[in-house]
Amino acid sequence: MGAWQSYRMRLRRKRAKVRAFRKHFSMRSVVDRTDRIRPGDVLLFSTMRDEHVRLPYFLRYYRDLGISHFLIVDNDSTDGGADYLAQQDDVSLWSTKASYKRARFGIDWLNWLQSKYGHGHWTLVVDPDEFFVYPFCDTRPIRALTDWLDTSQVKSFGAMLLDMYPKGRIDVVPYRAGQNPLEIAAWFDPGNYMIEKNKKFGNLWIQGGPRARVFFPDNPKKAPALNKTPLIKWHRRYAYESSTHMVLPRGLNLTYDEWGGEKASGILLHAKFLDTFTAKAAEELTRRQHYSASVEYKAYAEIVQHNPELWCKWSEKYINWRQLEILGLMSKGNWA
């Protein structure tokens, strides 16, 4: 990688920082409890819109992992979710009515908040339907992981998105607030993922899973990316470039080993396909606020009308992280 390339990457990163600065004016602080953040705390950053029903379990899950503070951007919710968040002691809330798409799917907002509050902390960036799983997460809090990464002098931790879905039509079982969504969406595709290396940014580009299998069997190129780097020891100069799929500087994308070994990695269980999904997909079609003119949602809406079953004979039922590690979806690396 030549000096010219490096310089262009630097410009890209600067541009992301400038965007973050510009877009932050559209955010209004609702509740600011950031003075409660202590050194060494692991912070969670998220944007959300109309996710009230998911919030109680989401917060409980991450509190149990040991997240100390939640920094959340509410994008114009109308379902009372913002009020709910504002009442939580460990949540700082911002709200914005600006376009999600123009903020590069929320990344500009979060880049701003991360550089302001996340500097020197381990930061976890997840959506409300993503549940972070890492090796030993049933016995060790997230602080154990970040401490170990610190002593290993590793600054970023990869976690692939794993789409979870229910058995049967996805709109049959209603999701109730506070319930573990993985009770309903308990199934996943264990072994149909395709990986390419993105030479420019150094990250892996992973596609596959039920969305490629059911929604894009004829056009795999359009299938959504599943690689993510959600956990980073943040520095104010860092910037996510495209969702949490890519981050700059590029070294942070190297969460994989190229010499035959396995680095430690986690999984983001993606409990998107619940009964709430059908309504969301319909709404996104008119809002057109999602990636690539919501092409994904168009495909969903079309197929969901006919046969919204993602389950197949070879789907695997989720048990725990050890199962994912044995299947080769994540790895303990040299953490033991």
């Binding site: 264990p190 993922y193 596959g208 490629a212 299998r213 004829d218 080993d257 035959g260």
Partner: protein
């Protein structure tokens, strides 16, 4: 007579205090060294917290960066205080703030009391140890290392390279033989005082202060000079990863640590409440003696290193994506590729499945879809039969299939009609692939088909071209697969012999030989068919020589019965 503890602390002072109290409660005097990098305020608070314990001293502070002389200097200072102030101490145990006693302190005291002259220090010559990091074993004693490996890696490497270039070599003083080993030792007063009061100590100190990672070699080397009896092992359990960093113990290691035969463990995560509770606060019950089984701990951590450095062969995933040649196996298990067999034999696939118990697929790389066995549209791992998905990344498709079906040997048909271009090299370079080819057998379906001869001719020309390209690949010098190629003419001379060879190699326990044989297509008129192609100006050569006259080649006489190979 008692045991004195030297404790090196740089972080997690709450835990260090807890452990210090534990030692003191059993009557062990302590000398504590706190890293100079620790702020004065923290240090003072720590000293104050321990002020109620009588037999605690604090050593002069040094800066203790990993792999530097400071660690040795700190230990020397603390040891001098220990020997001077606590005259009854017979053994001195070097521990860190993140060490945790695994067995009651009294057991340690008793253990050492019956071995009054034994020094427990891991100490081996550099030639005999595998754990040197960075490729520096003997050289760490003959080069100079003024730059930090952690913070100035570039300068470190360059300076080493420079010294190698000019052939610089340090003189090792007094002809001592450098030894290395774990930095956590337990030495007798005699040995330790001999090291500290050595008339040549200044010489040794000056020498070792420029050695790389002196804390792993200073005492280890010098103890050899004076010890009456060295037991070359550490009483502290500590495991190292592939970069030489200690593995950390967490709550879920509790049962494992109970089975250790060591007295201390390092290093413990400061927030591992259950471990501290189990081994420190509960006097009687917690340190329940279980049959020691240190091998289990070894295995777990050895496996972790193996996983990090070599990984699982044939697995491509988010944190293992090897560059070419570093895969350590392109796929995870052996599989078989058959080319031309299902063209020549009418019931080849079911026959093979019956004979071998393998999973026999059709043409996995057929243009329309992946023909999984039994007509399934989705295979193990939820692998789709969509041709577009497969062709999007054929390597991932094949590697996933083999990975997903671990434990069951896979086998599939392959041929010039398939989308072979993107996958043929991958298979050819895979040592797990067993490739068997009957060249030219693609002509049989054409021969049987009811198409216009002009179309057949065009098709035959195309297939022959593709297959001859493919055979070139299979005959290249880069090949790693087990490849066998027969021309069709050659094969039908004695078909059972090659079939038996292939199946023997697959390794099914079929000692009696093949009980049943596949049914070969009726080839009456095939020679004429080839001649017709030739007459049309297309020269079919991959199938070998077939005489035009029917019956001279094939022993088959009765045309009405299907032909059985025997």
């Amino acid at each position: 007579m008692s045991v004195g503890i030297i404790m090196l602390v740089h972080t997690a002072f709450g835990r260090a205090e807890q452990v210090a109290r534990h030692w003191a409660a059993s009557g062990c005097p302590l000398v504590i060294h706190v890293d100079k990098a620790v702020p004065r305020k923290t240090y003072n608070a720590f000293v104050k917290a321990l002020s109620d314990i009588e037999d605690v001293r604090f050593a002069p502070r040094h800066r203790c960066e990993w792999g530097t002389w400071g660690l040795v200097a700190a230990t020397q200072g603390a040891a001098e205080i220990m020997l001077r102030e606590f005259q009854t101490v017979r053994h001195v145990y070097l521990a860190s703030g993140s060490c945790l006693p695994l067995r009651p302190v009294q057991e340690l005291i008793d253990y050492l009391a019956v071995r009054p002259n034994t020094d427990f220090i891991e100490s081996a010559t550099t030639a005999d140890v595998p754990w040197t990091i960075g490729g520096l074993d003997q050289e760490r004693f003959t080069l100079r290392f003024p730059f930090s490996w952690r913070n100035h890696r570039y300068l470190f490497d360059k300076y080493v390279a420079l010294q190698r270039l000019v052939g610089f070599k340090r003189h090792i003083p007094n002809g001592i033989v450098p030894h290395m080993g774990s930095q956590w030792w337990c030495l007798t007063r005699q040995t330790l005082s001999a090291i500290l009061d050595d008339p040549y100590r200044r010489v040794y100190d000056r020498y070792f202060s420029k050695v790389w990672i002196p804390d792993e070699s200073y005492f280890q080397t010098l103890a050899r000079q004076y010890s009456r009896q060295i037991e070359s092992r550490s009483l502290t359990l500590s495991k190292f990863d592939y970069q030489g960093k200690p593995h950390i113990f967490y709550d879920d290691h509790l049962q494992l640590l109970r089975r250790s035969d060591c007295f201390l463990a390092r290093k413990i995560w400061p927030f591992a409440d259950r471990l501290y509770e189990a081994f420190l606060t509960d006097p009687a019950g917690a340190m329940k003696r279980t049959e020691p089984n240190p091998g289990k701990i070894d295995r777990i951590f050895a496996k972790a290193v193996e996983r990090r450095t070599r990984g699982r062969p044939g697995l491509y995933m988010q944190s293992r994506f090897p560059v070419e040649t570093r895969e350590n196996g392109l796929t995870c298990a052996p599989y078989s590729v058959f080319q031309g067999f299902s063209d020549l034999f009418e019931n080849f696939e079911p026959w093979l499945a019956r004979m071998t118990g393998m999973r026999v697929h059709g043409h996995l790389f057929a243009p329309e879809r992946a023909e999984f066995s039994d007509g399934q549209t989705v295979m193990n791992g939820a692998l789709s039969d969509s041709a577009a998905l497969r062709d999007y990344n054929p390597r991932a498709f094949l590697a996933s299939l083999i990975w997903n079906t671990r434990g069951e040997r896979q086998c599939f048909q392959f041929g010039p009609r398939d989308m072979i271009e993107d996958i043929e090299w991958y298979i050819a370079k895979d040592p797990n692939a067993q490739v068997s080819v009957i060249s030219g057998a693609w002509a049989v379906p054409l021969f049987k088909s009811n198409g216009n001869f002009a179309d057949i001719r065009r098709e035959a020309a195309l297939l022959q071209q593709v297959e001859s390209q493919h055979l070139k690949v299979l005959r290249s010098s880069w090949i790693k697969a087990r490849v066998r190629i027969w021309t069709m003419a050659e094969f039908i001379e004695a078909p059972m012999e090659p079939l038996q060879t292939i199946i023997d190699e697959i390794g099914q326990q079929n000692l009696r030989g093949l009980a049943e044989v596949p049914r070969m297509s009726d080839l009456t008129g095939f020679g004429q068919f080839l001649q017709n192609l030739k007459n049309q100006g297309m020269h079919p050569y991959l199938m070998g020589d077939f005489p035009v006259e029917q019956g001279t080649h094939s022993p088959q006489q009765d045309a009405r019965k299907p032909y059985l190979v025997r």
